[in-house]
């Protein structure tokens, strides 16, 4: 899939890194750099960078085919609870489907989201792998 150059470039902070929005009013945390707290709507938020470590709390093995996805299938898509609190959706890569389980400790790694057009951009972003250093 081709993405807009400017959209992808503008989104670097939310895909090359994991930022967390902390609400100064309701105190809740949510992934991504956000203008407002998604829970209470407050603008009194601060953005902090996550270390990128967490625990896999739910996952699916996905065979959902989209153009250009065949090189990556099947994929594991899951929810990761970051050590800093929020839950983030992401792909879990480099996994043996038989070994994966809820509670697996994971770390964020830079990978290719997609790059199927040989003349187009390569879209990099964070995925998760089981932690290398136990």
């Amino acid at each position: 899939m081709k993405h807009s150059i400017s959209i992808f470039w503008r989104l670097k902070d939310n895909h090359y890194k994991i930022y967390i929005t902390k609400c100064g009013d309701c105190g809740r945390v949510a992934p991504l750099k956000r203008l407002k707290c998604p829970y209470c709507g407050s603008r009194n938020v601060e953005h902090v960078e996550s270390r990128g470590f967490g625990e896999l709390i739910n996952y699916t093995v996905s065979y959902y085919r989209t153009e250009g996805s065949e090189q990556y299938l099947p994929r594991v898509v899951g929810l990761v609870k970051l050590d800093e609190g929020p839950v983030i959706v992401g792909e879990i890569t480099d996994v043996d489907l038989n070994e994966l389980s809820i509670g697996t400790r994971v770390e964020a790694v830079l990978r290719k989201y997609s790059s199927e057009d040989p003349n187009g951009l390569i879209y990099y972003g964070l995925k998760f792998i089981p932690v290398i250093k136990k």
């Binding site: 890569t93 480099d94 290719k112 989201y113």
Partner: protein
Amino acid sequence: MTSSRFRVGIVGWGAYIPVYRIKAKEIARQWGFDDRVTDSIWIEEKAVAGADEDTVTMGWYAARSALLRAGVNPGDIGAVFVGTESKPYAVKPSSTIIADALGISAKKLSTDLEFACRAGSEGIRISVSLVESGAVRYGLAIGSDTAQANPGDVLELTASSGAAAYLVGPADESVAVFESLVTYVTDTPDFWRRDGSRYPAHGEGFTGEPAYFHHIVSAVKMLMNESGLKPSDFDYAVFHQPNGKFPLQVGRMLGFPREKVLPGIVTPWIGNTYNASALLGLAKILENSKPGQRILVAPFGSGAGADAISVLVTDKVLERVGKAPTVEELIARKKYISYAEYAKFRNLIHRNLW
């Protein structure tokens, strides 16, 4: 331990080896080699980058580990170099992607370097000069490759994927200080890849004596002459390792006993990671070294050139080993794949692309 003579050193280092492995014998059988060929050059298995990995993603991991070990503020890094011969983009730097993803500031020098397998070590040499001159506080040099080899070429038995990164900075913050650095470069056409060509070509036997051996021997002898050091002054010697056999052979030619060379050999278990080859060997040595030990590292790049670098390990190494995955941990982490999966991951299968 750190002599005031030495102003620059390695502040942090990091390694990355993809999780996938293919047995060299499987590749040999795939293409009709007598499978004893793998023993003749000493290659057991090689690391294969996954479908979503490339030079940038592997270089990022190694560099992040170097930063974790160094514990420095990414904003203080003034130069980022990526040495590779498998740039994801023919035009567009890999180094800028890695730097942005690591939060390294925009005020920096940043470029991709190409000199076959020794561009990463040239990145170290440039970083040393930049730090020494006071132009930057820290320089980050990365060697990363998803090494290409024409399917069916003997090179395919070894060409693999991996990355190593070194953060170069002030000696008093370093885990090892640079004592001496020399480089020996000539025009020797042993291995090349033309623009637009998918796979490199090489002169087979010609890559040995006039290229690999001549350049490494010349560089190391130059270092010995200039520094007055002898093989017996070194605790370890690490050479570029296109296979398991060459580094032992060149060590012998230079008078290094086998036991000083063996600890730095990683290729038989992960393959030739090209720009990361000797640098992963150095990382493995650092992770097992003791303060005060002296290491010789001699990367080689076709085309051709070799560096000879002497480093002295400081006591800071001990506290930093455990802050990121070690080479041995990365080698032990593995999943075997078939030739078909390897071909899928490395884009060796012709497909209509969208």
